[in-house]
């Protein structure tokens, strides 16, 4: 079954009343499929982001996407999906940052602060230069995400990135984590610590860029952090940590896409997704405060 015929089938079932009414719209089906890919990948990878204390980095890469979009439009790429510049610029941003972190000895937060501000200044300058040539709503979509513009092409890019990230991150999950606990011990156990560091930066960058369309440049990094942070509050083992993070990220993405449509709210999808994730975090914090078992240890 081709993707088009699958989508048509879902739309037909929604029109016939077997599925929620919102699924009668093709763009909603596209967005939900995107959400089903984004949620588990961001939620799972997010656990490593939290373990490695890379939260600020993932935020910075998301913001770099703004500059990537500006460069893409300037170079004549389609403004609905300037993937060449997006991936190119953000990968350059992440790899250069990691390279300088290794070479200069500056702490990651200091370097990210420098890179983030310079990149935002570049992006703002380029976007203002382009402001006369493009529809200002495009900027809004780039910044905060939009479910209206997710195309079959975007889904294909997302699917390729999701498969690639899962295929690399799952077999290397233990090694990526081990490298952050003690690089020397990791090296003795055969882990190529520096190579894995670069690989992790590339994976975070790829998944961030592929998710920009739905969540938006400003907020995409947050979905790598909030679900994992919430899961960390209520879990007692890595199993709980990983799967609760995946569930929260997937639920947040799907609800964030659907709720504004169902309730006809003028809220961008990215903002709605992060608000749902934020509510999950608040509930997790509350649960931890109220349930003593979540604070301590089983004997």
């Amino acid at each position: 079954m081709s993707f088009e015929s699958f989508r048509q089938l879902v739309q037909d079932w929604a029109t016939a009343g077997y599925l929620p009414e919102a699924l009668a719209y093709g763009f909603v089906v596209n967005a939900l499929l995107a959400g089903l890919m984004i949620g588990p990948v961001l939620g799972g990878l997010g656990t490593l982001v939290v373990v490695k204390r890379f939260a600020f980095f993932s935020e910075a890469v998301g913001h770099a996407a703004l500059t990537g979009v500006a460069i893409g439009i300037l170079l004549g790429e389609p403004y609905t999906g300037p993937y060449g510049s997006l991936f190119g610029y953000c990968l350059l941003f992440g790899i250069l940052l990691n390279f300088l972190r290794n070479r200069t000895g500056l702490s990651p937060d200091t370097l990210i602060g420098v890179f983030l501000s310079v990149s935002l200044a570049l992006g703002a300058s380029l976007l203002l230069m382009l402001a006369g040539k493009i529809n200002v709503h495009i900027l809004e979509n780039v910044l905060f995400g939009s479910v209206l513009t997710v195309s079959a092409h975007d889904l294909l890019v997302l699917a390729i990135v999701a498969v690639l990230v899962l295929a690399l991150a799952l077999p290397l999950y233990n090694r990526i984590m081990l490298a952050s606990f003690n690089p020397q011990l990791a090296a003795v156990r055969g882990v190529a610590v520096k190579t894995l560091d670069y690989l992790f930066v590339v994976l975070v960058t790829l998944v961030t860029v592929a998710s920009v369309k739905v969540i938006g440049a400003i907020l995409v990094g947050a979905l790598l952090v909030i679900p994992a942070a919430a899961a960390r509050l209520v879990s007692q083992s890595l199993k709980g940590f990983f799967f609760v993070s995946v569930i929260i990220a997937t639920l947040s993405t799907l609800l964030g896409i659907l709720l504004p449509i169902v309730f006809d709210l003028p809220v961008p999808s990215g903002a709605a997704i992060i608000l749902v994730a934020g509510i999950c975090f608040a509930l997790a914090a509350l649960a931890r405060a109220l349930v003593p078992r979540l604070q301590g240890n089983p004997a």
Partner: protein
């Protein structure tokens, strides 16, 4: 049992440090370090903080570009090094149990999927040897320093090493933990494992090591502990700041 008595049954390597020089920036960390570690022996390294002990370990583990010759003479095909670091850098609130940690160390299968059937018996045995089997479901961050040190010792047992490098393994251990460590040392001796052991507790070195090297940028002594750990030598080792000389 002495190192010499182990020579026939040793499965661990002989290590030769031959004129090792290490300079970081403008500071000379190691200078013409020359000594050897007998196969199957328990060899302690003592010295002041900043004396180059950890740098020597890093050099041995291939983590430091150095000058001079460092040779490991392995007795056979198998070349397994175990390493027990002094501490781990991790978020104490991370929901990672002892089992999760051991899985992350010892198996490819993602640790969040639980212990793999293949490594589970080895992990069970290692945790039993360090007396942590009943605490395997506890979070790593909630363990005491001594308990965490025991778990670090347990990971060093998998896969069974022929050379074991220990970085101050006794620093956080309580009395029961010290007994566990001594039993492990006994086991390594019997198995012919070469043990290179950085230690601050000179009484323990005197009691447990076959040979001791005093390191403060240079090798100040290298002899059996009973001969080496005399008050004069220790005064010489700990009274001069090793980093007082930097390159002109």
């Amino acid at each position: 049992m002495t190192a010499a008595a182990n020579l026939t049954s040793a499965c661990g390597p002989r290590i030769e440090f031959d004129g090792i020089d290490l300079t970081l920036g403008r500071t000379r960390i190691l200078e013409n370090v020359r000594f050897s570690v007998a196969p199957g022996s328990v060899h302690a390294i003592v010295g002041p903080n900043g004396g180059g002990k950890s740098s020597l370990i890093k050099t041995l583990l291939g983590q430091m570009p150095h000058q001079g010759q460092l040779t490991l003479h392995w007795p056979g095909e198998r070349e397994v090094i175990g390493y027990v670091p002094q501490a781990l850098e991790f978020d104490r609130g991370l929901p990672m149990t002892v089992d999760d940690f051991m899985a992350a160390m010892c198996q490819r299968r993602p640790a969040f999927l639980g212990l793999s059937r293949r490594v589970r018996p080895a992990i069970d045995a290692a945790l039993a040897r360090v007396g942590m089997l009943d605490k395997r479901k506890r979070r790593m961050g909630a363990l005491s320093g001594g308990e965490r040190q025991r778990v670090l010792l347990a990971q060093g047992l998998i896969p069974e090493p022929q050379l074991l490098v220990l970085d101050e393994p006794m620093s956080a251990l309580d009395e029961a933990g010290i007994q566990v460590f001594e039993q492990l040392l006994h086991g390594w001796r019997q198995a012919g494992t070469t043990v290179l052991w950085i230690e601050h507790d000179l009484e323990a070195v005197l009691r447990l090591a076959d040979r001791v090297t005093g390191l403060s940028r240079q090798v100040l002594f290298d002899a059996p502990p009973a001969q080496a750990l005399t008050p004069e030598r220790l005064l010489g080792l700990f009274s001069v700041h090793p980093r007082s000389e930097s390159l002109a």
